[in-house]
């Protein structure tokens, strides 16, 4: 064999390998980009967005071709903002995700009957639909929204704007702020692994840290040097009457002194005298006063009733 031939073959092989490699890469990133950015609108068809895998939504669109569709997605079209509202996406990523959505269309075409059958199972209450297959084939289009959401799609079933369970407590490799190309990232602990036995909460890390500490699920050190040093816990509730109809706030020193030192809050954040601090939700939302921790690490401000926990005494109406 001559070296001449080897020289000729080599770049071709390289090219082929490259093409295969990038094709696979596109398939992977397209799906990932979809799950992270597009699913919120394109799963349920928000504001006229064409739904993933629903052929009727795509017939006129797919005729335009990948290039034109990608351009539209990059520039924004109708209710869709440029790049779906995420300027961090590169043009290639947008193109990849459009390609992915078109691919899903092709995939969904041949086994149409199978998907119809599945939908039929959900409707088993109506005996008429179950009896004749023709009727099923004719009618499945009008109600795909709810079915799609129940099917474990990455959308929150209660409210599509909230984080779905599949997006909570992600491992560092997939959490969006860690660099997945960094070898160190792979070595970091996964939150789910650490949170496993702890009591659950509805917000924040989805962990009830105070309950976990009480139950002994975690034993965080109080002192760097002395492993056995215990915190000085102060059991003193401060009730703050609030304006309006919200229940009054009960501030428990106990839960706070389990974690913190007096000097963390007094006197810089709160003057240590009842009634001496003018606290407002506005400043808390902006990260001051209680908001120094609540809304950053401690449970967020969406948990109104955790603080506003003391109902006002009922006054007789005139």
């Amino acid at each position: 064999m001559n070296m001449k031939y080897l020289g000729k073959i080599h770049p071709l092989v390289l090219l082929a390998v490259l093409i295969c490699g990038t094709a696979n890469l596109n398939a992977a990133t397209g799906e990932q980009v979809y799950a992270a950015n597009c699913v919120a609108c394109h799963a349920a068809g928000v504001l006229g967005a064409p739904k993933l895998g629903v052929e009727a939504d795509w017939t006129t669109r797919s005729a335009k071709g990948l290039d034109k569709l990608s351009q539209n997605a990059i520039k924004g079209i109708n209710a869709m903002p440029p790049k779906g509202g995420n300027p961090a996406l590169s043009d290639e990523e947008v193109r990849a995700v459009v390609a992915y959505m078109l691919d899903r269309l092709k995939e969904s075409e041949p086994p149409a009957k199978a998907t119809v059958k599945k939908k039929g199972v959900d409707q088993k209450a109506s005996a008429a639909a179950a009896s004749s297959r023709d009727a099923e084939v004719a009618k499945p289009k009008p109600r795909p929204k709810k079915v799609a959401q129940r099917r474990g799609r990455p959308v929150n079933a209660f409210n599509r704007l909230m984080k779905p369970p599949s997006q909570r407590n992600l491992p560092p490799m997939r959490d969006g702020i860690h660099d997945s190309r960094n070898d160190g990232t792979a070595a970091l602990q996964h939150p789910k692994e650490a949170f496993g036995p702890m009591p659950k909460a509805n917000s924040g890390n989805r962990v009830d840290w105070v309950a976990a500490l009480n139950r002994g699920d975690l034993k965080p050190r109080f002192d760097l040097e002395d492993e056995n040093r215990e915190p000085v816990v102060l059991d003193l509730n401060i009730v703050r009457e609030v304006k309006g109809s919200m229940p009054d706030v009960v501030y428990p020193h106990k839960q706070h002194t389990e974690w913190l030192d007096c000097s963390n809050c007094h006197p810089a954040i709160f003057f240590p005298k009842k009634g001496a601090n003018n606290i407002s939700m506005a400043s808390i939302l902006l990260g001051e006063q209680c908001g120094v921790c609540h809304g950053k690490v401690a449970f967020p401000v969406s948990e109104c009733r955790k603080c506003h926990s003391k109902n006002k005494p009922k006054t007789a109406k005139k």
Partner: protein, 151 residues
């Protein structure tokens, strides 16, 4: 005549009352909208609540920014250890942390010295954020309320 005057006065008082009620209703409505808006904007964030990205000098020096996971540390230490004893202020990017200080045993270096936690040789374990990520407390109320500056 007397009756007429009284009739004039009463509606004025009730108007005041109505205005006050309207104000509180408007305030509550506004707060609700803010919370709803915060939920809306919270969608793209996927990292843990309370993850702090520190990018004071990293980008300029060609390092990845630091991601500090609050959840990981609060399993092992109470807030007091870092925020009272080690002098970390409650503000992302508000502490003048540098590698020199860390090697001298200040800030992260109080534990990250090879005795209590991994030492400074393991650059990539802390400097693990995507380059260009701004200093932030991830998923904080403030982050959700303030719209990101478009490029």
């Amino acid at each position: 005549m007397k009756d007429d005057i009284r009739k004039d006065e009463e509606p004025l008082q009730t108007k005041e009352l109505h205005r006050n009620e309207l104000k509180t209703v408007a305030a509550v409505f506004l707060l609700l909208m803010v919370l709803l808006g915060s939920l809306l904007l919270s969608w793209p964030s996927k990292a843990e609540y309370g993850d702090v990205v520190i990018n004071n000098f990293s980008d300029e020096s060609g390092m990845r920014p630091v991601v500090f996971p609050h959840w990981f540390h609060r399993i092992r230490f109470r807030c007091k250890v870092c925020h009272a004893d080690l002098g970390f202020k409650f503000e992302a990017g508000g502490n003048d942390i540098s590698m020199l200080k860390i090697i001298d045993g200040e800030y992260c270096g109080a534990c990250h010295n090879g005795n209590i936690a991994w030492s400074v040789e393991n650059c990539n374990l802390c400097h693990s954020g995507k380059s260009g990520t701004k200093t932030q407390v991830h998923e904080s109320t403030l982050q959700k309320l303030v719209a990101p500056v478009s490029k």
